[in-house]
C-alpha cells in the first residue's frame, strides 16, 4: 500500500486570489504542504458553505517553496468552489495535503507532451517547468471548449518550449479538440505523454497513446469522500480491480485503467473544458 508520511492536516492562510481567465488562482501559505508537494498531487480544502460537509479536492497548480506558498486554480461550479474564491485575503483555510501520487519524471532526457483540458492545464504548467529544468523538451497542448475556458498559460518560455492552444469553437488557437492536436504531434516520434483534464479527454488521450505505443500518465478526477484513502468512494476501474484514485492516484499509468468501464463509457474525445 502507498502510504506517504509527508502528508499533513494543517491550517493555511489565503494570501491572494486573482482571476485567471474564467478561473481563480488562489495562493495559500501552507509551508508543510508546499515544501512536500510534487506536480500531480492535490489538497483537500475545508469549505464552510452552508450545508456542505466534505473537503473539496483541488490539484496543486504550483508552489513557491521559499515562501511556503501553494497555488490552486479553481473553477466555480458549486457552493464549495464559490465559497473558496470569495474568501478575503488572510482567511485561515483548513486543508489536508499533499495528497496522492504525483507524476513520474522520465529517467532519461527526452520529449514530453503535456495535454491539458480547462483548468487541468494549470498543474501541467508546473510539471512543465520542472521537466524543462531537468533538461527535457516540453510541448504543452492546452484545450477548452471556448477561448474563455482556456487556462491562460502566462510564462510560455519557462514552462514549455512550445505551447499549442485549441478551442472547439475556434474562438482562439486551433479549432478542434486538444486530442486532435496530440494526434498531429505524435507522428514525429517518441515521447512521454502526461495528461490532466476531464475524464472524457483523458480517455481519448489514453486511446491515442495506446495505439501509438507510448507511455502515458493521466491525473484522474473522481468524486471523493475522504480524500485520504479510507472510504473507497473515489475508485477507478483498473486491470487490478477498483483502485482508490486519492491514494493510488490521482496520477495513474493510462494503460492500467479499464477505460471501457469508466462510467459512463468514454471511448473517444468528447466535450471538455
Amino acid at each position: 500500500m502507498t502510504v506517504d508520511a509527508a502528508v499533513s492536516a494543517t491550517t493555511g492562510t489565503l494570501i491572494a486570489t486573482r482571476p485567471a481567465g474564467r478561473y481563480h488562482r488562489c495562493s495559500i501559505a501552507a509551508p508543510d504542504v508546499a515544501t512536500a508537494a510534487v506536480p500531480g498531487q492535490f489538497v483537500a480544502v475545508e469549505v464552510q458553505a452552508p450545508g456542505t460537509l466534505l473537503r473539496r479536492p483541488f490539484a496543486i497548480a504550483g508552489v513557491d517553496t521559499a515562501a511556503g506558498v501553494l497555488h490552486l486554480v479553481v473553477a466555480t461550479v458549486g457552493a464549495g468552489s464559490a465559497w473558496l474564491v470569495a474568501q478575503a485575503v488572510s482567511t485561515r483555510l483548513r486543508l489536508t495535503g499533499p495528497l496522492g501520487r504525483g507524476f513520474t519524471m522520465p529517467a532519461d532526457p527526452g520529449r514530453c507532451l503535456l495535454v491539458g483540458g480547462g483548468y487541468g492545464v494549470a498543474a501541467l504548467e508546473w510539471l512543465g517547468a520542472r521537466l524543462l529544468a531537468a533538461g527535457h523538451r516540453v510541448e504543452l497542448l492546452s484545450g477548452a471548449a471556448t477561448a474563455q475556458a482556456l487556462y491562460p498559460v502566462t510564462r510560455h518560455d519557462t514552462v514549455a518550449g512550445t505551447v499549442v492552444e485549441t478551442t472547439e469553437d475556434g474562438s482562439s488557437g486551433q479549432r478542434g479538440l486538444v486530442t486532435d492536436a496530440l494526434g498531429d504531434r505524435l507522428r514525429d516520434g517518441d515521447a512521454m505523454v502526461y495528461a490532466c483534464g476531464p475524464m472524457p479527454m483523458l480517455a481519448a488521450v489514453a486511446g491515442i497513446t495506446r495505439r501509438a505505443g507510448m507511455t502515458c500518465e493521466v491525473a484522474v478526477e473522481e468524486h471523493m469522500g475522504c480524500s485520504v484513502g479510507v472510504c473507497m468512494t473515489c475508485v477507478v476501474p483498473t486491470v487490478h480491480g477498483y483502485a482508490r484514485s486519492c491514494i493510488d492516484g490521482p496520477v495513474m499509468d493510462a494503460s492500467r485503467i479499464r477505460w471501457e468501464s469508466v462510467d459512463p463509457p468514454r471511448e473517444d474525445g468528447l466535450r471538455h473544458g
Binding site: M1, V3, D4, A5, V7, S8, A9, E46, G51, T52, L53, L54, R55, R94, T96, E222, H223, M224, G225, C226, S227, V228, G229, V230, C231, M232, T233, C234, V235, V236, P237, G241, Y242, I247, S261, D263
Partner: protein, 310 residues
C-alpha cells in the same frame, strides 16, 4: 482540580476513552495513522470484511446531501484471507483495541468469518454488520427481521468466544425488538446505527446521483435518528453495552450519545470532513469533564432527562 477519567467499560472490554471509529470510515487504520497516533482512540472498528474478495459497486459511489452524504460502496474489500494476512497484522500491533467487522450474505457465512477470526491474536471483539443495505445481491437485510438477526448472531456466537456487537439498521419499525433478538441469540452488545437507505436525483440528467440508485445516508443529518435509537434501546434493554453512532462529529455530539445511553461512540463520516475529528473530540471530552461534578465519563452515561420523553 483532580484528574478526569475518560475510560469506559464496553461489556467485558475496557477502553481508554469512549471514542471509537465507525466501520468503513477508517479502513484498517494505516492511512489514518499518518495524521495521529492510533492510541488516541478508544478502539478501531475496521471496514466490514466478507468471505470472498468483493469488487464493490460501480462509481459514482457517493453523493453529498444537505449535512450528510449517501454512499453505495458495496462492501469493497479484499476478502477475509487477504485481510487477515495483509492488513490486520499491522493494526493489531498498534496500541489500540481492534474490533473486526464482518459481513455475510448468509448466516453460514457469518459463522465462517467468525471461525476464521476467533484465533487471530490481538482481536478485542467482533462487530457483526447485519445491516449493510448496499450489497447488490442482498435480498432482505438481516437486521430487518428478528429471525434472520438471531440466525446470523447465533452462527457467530456458536463458534467464537470473542465479545460480539450486532450492528443494526435504523430502517425498521421497532429497533428494540431487533436488539432483543440479537442479544437473546448471543450478542454481547449492539452498535446503533448503520446508515439509512436513501436516494438523490440529479434533476439535470434525471438520473440517480449514485450508480447503484440507492445508498446509505450518514453524517450530521442522521444524528437525531441515532440518538433516538440509542435512547430507546438503553431503556428497553437495561444494561446492554451500546456503541452509539450516526452523525457524531464533535465532543458535544459524543456527549449527546453518552447522555442518551451509549457506552462508546463511533465517529465515521466526520473523519472525511476532518481527519483530526476524532482526536479533537477526545480532547474536548477531557476539557468538558474538568468543568463537571463527575470525575469519570462513565458516570455521564444515560444522564439525559428522560422524564419528559413521551
Amino acid at each position: 482540580m483532580g484528574e478526569v477519567d475518560l475510560s469506559v467499560r464496553l461489556g467485558p472490554l475496557r477502553l481508554r476513552n469512549p471514542v471509537v471509529t465507525a466501520s468503513g470510515c477508517f479502513a484498517s487504520g494505516r492511512e489514518m495513522a499518518r495524521f495521529f497516533d492510533l492510541s488516541t482512540l478508544g478502539a478501531v472498528v475496521t471496514k466490514s470484511v466478507t468471505v470472498e474478495p468483493c469488487a464493490g459497486l460501480p462509481p459514482p459511489r457517493m453523493a453529498e446531501t444537505d449535512s450528510g452524504m449517501l454512499n453505495a460502496i458495496g462492501l469493497q474489500n479484499p476478502g477475509i484471507d487477504t485481510w487477515v494476512e495483509r492488513d490486520l497484522p499491522w493494526l493489531v500491533d498498534q496500541d489500540v483495541p481492534v474490533i473486526a467487522s464482518i459481513a455475510g450474505k448468509t448466516a453460514d457465512e457469518y459463522g465462517l468469518l467468525a471461525k476464521r477470526l476467533r484465533d487471530v491474536p490481538g482481536l478485542a471483539a467482533l462487530e457483526v454488520n447485519i445491516s449493510c443495505p448496499n450489497v447488490e445481491d442482498r435480498g432482505i437485510v438481516f437486521a430487518c427481521r428478528t429471525g434472520a438477526t438471531a440466525a446470523a448472531i447465533s452462527a457467530v456466537a456458536q463458534v467464537c468466544d470473542l465479545p460480539i456487537f450486532a450492528k443494526l439498521t435504523p430502517d425498521v419499525a421497532d429497533i428494540t425488538e431487533i436488539a432483543h433478538a440479537a442479544v437473546d441469540a448471543g450478542a454481547t452488545g449492539v452498535s446503533l446505527i448503520n446508515t439509512l437507505l436513501g436516494m438523490a436525483i440529479d434533476v439535470t440528467t434525471r438520473r440517480p446521483k449514485l450508480a447503484a440508485g440507492t445508498g446509505g445516508l450518514s453524517g450530521p443529518a442522521i444524528r437525531p435518528v441515532a440518538i433516538r435509537a440509542v435512547h430507546q434501546v438503553r431503556h428497553a434493554l437495561g444494561d446492554v453495552p451500546i456503541i452509539g453512532l450516526g452523525g457524531a462529529c464533535t465532543c458535544t455530539d459524543v456527549l449527546e450519545f453518552i447522555m442518551a445511553g451509549a457506552d462508546a461512540v463511533a465517529i465515521g463520516t466526520a473523519t472525511f470532513a476532518d481527519p483530526m475529528a476524532i482526536p479533537a473530540a477526545v480532547e474536548g471530552l477531557t476539557r468538558w469533564l474538568r468543568g463537571q461534578e463527575e470525575r469519570a465519563i462513565a458516570q455521564v452515561r444515560g444522564t439525559a432527562d428522560t422524564e419528559r420523553t413521551a
